[in-house]
Point group: C2
Chain length 176, copies 2
């Protein structure tokens, strides 16, 4: 079996700007920031979309995603937060992966994206188009810039809540 980039990232074997980790779920910055605060949320272990959402980790992942989304709003610049994921990336993702830029620590394999579910949390600008995941191409962020964004998100996460009733009070109202 070929190595999985996401398994290696979740295990801390690749340098990432970490936003959150617990027993089941890991969140870190995408190397290619579509806008400051572009986060990947994924199961720590190698689970496909179907495995993830048929089991208990799916709920945990969505709960973390909701808190990350609040944190992205808190650090500013987002009028909305969008999520996106490939449910069955397979060959389509592998083809894409073969042509894109690589991080210095990233293994040169074409099938790294196969299988391991990962969800993009994306910043949405007021009045903007529905975001592409990488509107600016494959530019990779400088490590110190990524770490600075991640540090702000980790701090903002401490102020997030995870029950719907409390969430209604915690969220900054739009357009208010």
């Amino acid at each position: 079996m070929l190595p999985c980039l996401y398994c290696e990232s979740a295990a801390g074997d690749l340098r990432q700007a970490l936003v959150h980790q617990d027993r089941d779920v890991v969140a870190f910055l995408d190397w290619r920031q579509s806008a400051p605060g572009h986060v990947l949320v994924l199961p720590r272990h190698h689970l496909s979309a179907a495995e993830l959402f048929s089991g208990p980790v799916g709920g945990a992942l969505m709960a973390v995603t909701m808190r990350v989304a609040q944190a992205v709003q808190r650090i500013g610049g987002a009028d909305g937060v969008q999520m996106g994921a490939l449910l069955y990336p397979g060959q389509a993702a592998a083809t894409r992966a073969s042509g894109r830029a690589r991080h210095p620590g990233e293994p040169p394999i074409e099938t790294a994206e196969d299988g391991h579910f990962h969800l993009h949390v994306l910043v949405r600008q007021h009045g903007g188009e529905l975001a592409r995941i990488y509107p600016f191409g494959d530019e990779i962020g400088a490590p110190e810039e990524l770490e600075a964004i991640a540090a702000r998100l980790r701090s903002a996460l401490l102020q997030t809540v995870d029950t719907p009733r409390e969430l209604g009070r915690a969220l900054r109202p739009f357009g208010a």
Copy 2:
């Protein structure tokens, strides 16, 4: 409170090409088909993202989404299936909604997208870019074409399965 387009669609008050419905979850074609098989999956009742994924309906919605994704693959033309959603659409979505084309049966309100979570299941082409939700603008599909696609999806849904072990056998392998 202003009327909610998604509540009205889920209740069957607006004509939609229905793909699936159960007690908690409804799926129908988007009027603007980014590619044939572009489906919206949403809770029947007015739940925000945070409410949805903190409660039991979140899991039901993701399970339906996984089956819809299989059905989209089965009717052909998809090399992969992508999902996307606005977690906190708020004002950003309302601004967008005010400028887009309307279906003949759609109420002329700007805040129709506020709050009621809906997930886009999108067709992904082999080697293509990560899809925008509406790459072809606001063109609305002809009702008979939408109904024909929905009928194929309803039929394909009968052949889908919802446990991970079975799913591994049911999915068409990519690139095989």
